[in-house]
């Protein structure tokens, strides 16, 4: 009965694992931690470097900027104020931005003798840092008065500091602010900045900002038309907003051109959206894969239905929690490494529980898959309740180290670091497992036992030992998955339950006894799910995927990558 499960885990012709694959496998397995460490060390060094640079530069400039700012205190009349503004503008130092903004808003308070504060909600702040000043001398303060012509000067000075700032990031930021606001008053400053700009990407941004201004303020149809072209080329959401706004008030040929530009931008955006969906799908697929790959070993290779598989994942997640708690109380400095420490621990904990299960229950049930299913379900109930009793029924907080937090954008897509790492981790696990199964002696023994148990045992392979180790390996891998999943899911006693059905679906869909099937099955289902979601909603999308799998199993009862031949049915 057991052997209705396919026992040739890998199709022929996949044995082309070159030394390259092997190298990746080794790195994937043992080097994962070191690679992260190295990366993080480099990252930290970079941060320190940046900080020192800024600290130095700021130190030198701050004093001179402060000196100029203090001149506001003794400036008499608009012309002298204007002179100080010009002086500040000449430094081009962004440190002055806060002061100028305050001046513009009428919040700059001064007293003769060089005292300058920014007053905000009754608090007196330092004009450069914006920190509240302790024991500020508030008697005899006067507001610096300004008039409209001064406002223009301030705005020009401000744009000079932003659009012409030394830091390219500030210039880029300023250009995109103008792009969004289409503020015509900035046109002059923009053109000046454009003439001076040397970085091509920022030049491009400034051209786009200029186009944005022209679009709404130019009377020259040719200029507007060029502007439309420039904005269309930008092709992001902000461009779409501008174009829609313009199209709403335009007419004639230009409206047609704007509409065409809108549809072109929409097309670009929908491609990015598809890309984003693919990414969500890959991300979900990696989660499914992590949850299922341990099962692919115990179910696919051994033919054992482990309904407690989800609980192994849960144990891995709780191990992460415990490791983090210990670090928090005894060695807070290690927090960034907590996941790397948790990985081997989770492997050992889940693997150990798996080993115990195999030795005490499952080995008596080989050849009776349905009974195994029931007994392991019993184990899953006990493990759930044990965790509930020890850790309580509510979610436990597992923290994300810094390198797992935050997000970055790729074009119009937004990617979170934790998802990126989990995708990498799942692929590394795949490579490592393939390596263990195909290139190690243990893997060879494992495949021998699953293909022909009696022959293997007569060749002096200790089959009970191989069974136990295989089951422990599958469980340990579930534990590793738990570490990864603790970063994106609630760590509660029910964690495993939410994955078990999905995991079975992946293994059954991909084809039993085949890790490639599991990989492709997981990513296919993940992507399919995410593409259905926008049309059908999350729940209905999931139902559709389930129904699809049920129907798929009818057509191909042995999954995507089933082996043919008479051995299969024997």
């Amino acid at each position: 009965m057991t052997h209705e499960i396919v026992h040739r885990p890998y199709p022929r012709g996949r044995n082309r694992n070159s030394p390259r694959t092997r190298a990746v496998a080794i790195e994937g397995r043992c080097g994962e931690g070191r690679r992260v460490q190295a990366l993080m060390a480099a990252f930290c060094a970079f941060l320190v470097f940046l900080f020192l640079m800024f600290a130095n530069a700021a130190h030198a400039d701050e004093a001179s900027v402060r000196a100029i700012i203090s001149k506001f205190a003794d400036a008499e009349g608009f012309s002298q104020v204007e002179k100080v503004i010009d002086e500040l503008a000449a430094t081009g130092d962004p440190l002055a931005v806060r002061t100028l903004n305050a001046l513009n808003d009428g919040k700059l308070q001064v007293k003769r003798g060089g005292t300058v504060y920014i007053e905000e909600n009754g608090k007196f702040l330092d004009p450069i840092t914006g920190e509240p000043v302790d024991g500020a001398d508030t008697s005899g303060l006067d507001k610096v008065k300004i008039k409209n012509s001064l406002r223009r000067t301030i705005s020009a000075a401000l744009s000079g500091m932003t659009l012409m700032a030394k830091d390219p990031a500030i210039r880029s930021q300023a250009a995109s602010t103008i792009f969004d606001s289409s503020d015509a008053s900035q046109l002059e400053a923009l053109e000046k900045a454009l003439a001076a700009e040397t970085v091509p990407s920022i030049r491009e941004q400034m051209e786009e900002a200029k186009a944005s201004i022209q679009l709404f303020n130019s009377n020259d149809p040719a200029e507007v038309s060029t502007a439309l072209g420039t904005i269309k080329a930008r092709g992001n959401r902000a461009a779409l907003a501008l174009l829609s706004k313009y199209a709403a008030s335009a007419d004639g040929e230009l409206k047609e051109q704007a509409d065409a530009a809108i549809s072109s931008v929409e097309e670009t955006l929908s491609m990015w959206e598809a890309g984003q969906n693919v990414w969500y799908g890959i991300s979900l697929g990696s989660v499914l894969f992590l949850a299922a790959i341990g099962l692919a070993i115990t179910f696919g290779v051994m033919g054992v239905i482990n309904m407690a598989h989800g609980e192994m994942v849960m144990l891995g997640a709780y191990t992460t929690f415990v490791v983090q708690e210990l670090i928090r109380t005894s060695a807070p400095g290690l927090f960034e490494y907590s996941l790397l420490i948790a990985l081997p621990m989770a492997f050992l904990v889940a693997g150990g529980v798996g080993l115990l299960m195999e030795r005490s229950i499952i080995r008596f049930l080989y050849g009776r898959p349905l009974e195994t299913l029931l007994a392991t379900w019993g184990v899953s109930l006990i493990l759930q309740q044990a965790v509930r009793t020890i850790f309580g029924p509510t979610n436990r907080e597992v923290g994300n180290p810094d390198w797992m937090s935050g997000a970055f954008t790729l074009g119009e897509m937004s990617l979170t670091w934790n998802r990126v790492w989990i995708v990498c981790f799942s692929l590394a696990m795949f490579v490592a497992l393939q390596f263990v199964l195909k290139k190690t002696y243990f893997g060879l023994q494992m495949r021998a036992v699953t293909q022909n148990r009696r022959m293997a045992s007569s060749m002096a392979i200790r089959t009970p030992w191989v069974d136990a180790m295989t089951f422990a390996l599958g469980s340990g891998i579930a534990g590793l998955a738990g570490v990864a999943l603790s970063q994106i899911d609630n760590v509660s006693p029910n964690l495993g339950q939410s994955y078990i059905i999905d995991s079975f679906m992946v293994v059954v869909f991909g084809g039993v006894g085949n890790l490639w099937g599991t990989l492709i099955g997981a990513f296919t289902l993940g992507i399919a799910n995410k593409f259905l979601e926008p049309y059908a909603g999350a729940v209905l999308g999931k139902i559709l995927v389930l129904v699809f799998i049920i129907l798929f199993i009818q057509r191909r009862p042995r999954g995507l990558f089933a082996q043919k031949g008479r051995a299969v049915e024997a």
Binding site: P11, R12, Q563, K564, G565, R566
Partner: protein, 269 residues
């Protein structure tokens, strides 16, 4: 192999001359140019085999020669990749499934005795008795004297009358083989496919089985796959030797066993 190929016209799929159809009609079982591959491995390679009505044929061949796969193809368990399989003249077996083919009159005995272990010997035969095969009428079936008599007759033939009420699970290995043959008889097939009927039997059981099969062959056509040359000699029928999915030699046992190729690949050394 060559003389077999010469005897039969090469059958290109699709072209059906009237003469060819007539040719088919002569045979109870007609396999021509059949091939099937599993994962690129050709289990059956351009196999042709013809069985006349009332004929008993023994099939011999080394392990992996394709004997069991050939039976799978005839009984509809495996679909051939190419070639023609006809039964009773004009029934294309590749277009029917196992149950259809069984009901047309092809019975099959597996290599490993397969009986219904938790049912009594009598019930095993009862289920196999020719007749109604639909599920629902079986709900209201009442046992009757005619059926009981038929069962008694068959059990006499397969020498199991005194075990009639015992569970099949409690029979010896040889008795299970006979029970399975008894079930085949109850089906009243036109053609019996028997896979290694004497594997694991004692010498006297083997002799008894040979006798039994000869009795059966008086009324039905039989194809026997067997390794036991002693048993094949006992049967005294035309022999086909398979090797790597095709026919290596065909004729009387003496003719086949003197064939150099057969000695090389099968009878050995």
């Amino acid at each position: 192999m060559n003389d077999v190929m010469e005897k039969t016209p090469a059958t290109a799929a699709g072209s059906q001359h009237p003469a060819q159809r007539e040719h088919k009609a002569k045979f109870l079982l007609y396999l021509s140019g059949v091939s099937v591959a599993f994962d690129g491995f050709k289990a059956i390679n351009n196999l042709s085999l013809f069985l006349e009505p009332g004929e008993m044929r023994a099939i011999i061949g080394p392990n992996g020669a394709g004997k069991t796969t050939m039976m799978d193809i005839i009984t509809g368990k495996t679909r051939p990749d190419e070639g023609e399989v006809f039964f009773d003249g004009d029934i294309d077996l590749t277009k029917h499934d196992e149950a259809d083919i069984a009901n047309m009159g092809i019975g099959r005995k597996f290599q490993k005795p397969t009986v219904f272990e938790t049912l009594s010997v009598e019930d095993n035969i009862l289920l196999a008795l020719a007749g109604q095969r639909r599920a629902l009428p079986a709900l209201f079936y009442r046992s009757n004297a005619a059926d009981m008599a038929k069962i008694g007759e068959i059990l006499d033939t397969v020498r199991l009358s005194d075990r009639r009420q015992d569970l099949a699970a409690n029979l010896s290995h040889g008795q299970k083989q006979w029970l399975e043959i008894g079930m085949l008889l109850a089906q009243k097939p036109k053609l019996l496919l028997v896979d290694e009927p004497v594997a694991g039997m004692t010498d006297s059981e083997t002799e008894e089985t040979a006798k039994l099969l000869r009795e059966i062959a008086r009324e039905q056509s039989v194809v026997v796959v067997e390794h036991d040359m002693h048993f094949v000699r006992e049967l005294g029928v035309k022999v086909t030797c398979l090797h790597e999915g095709s026919v290596l030699a065909e004729g009387s046992l003496d003719h086949v066993s003197s064939n150099q190729k057969v000695i090389d690949v099968y009878l050995g050394r």
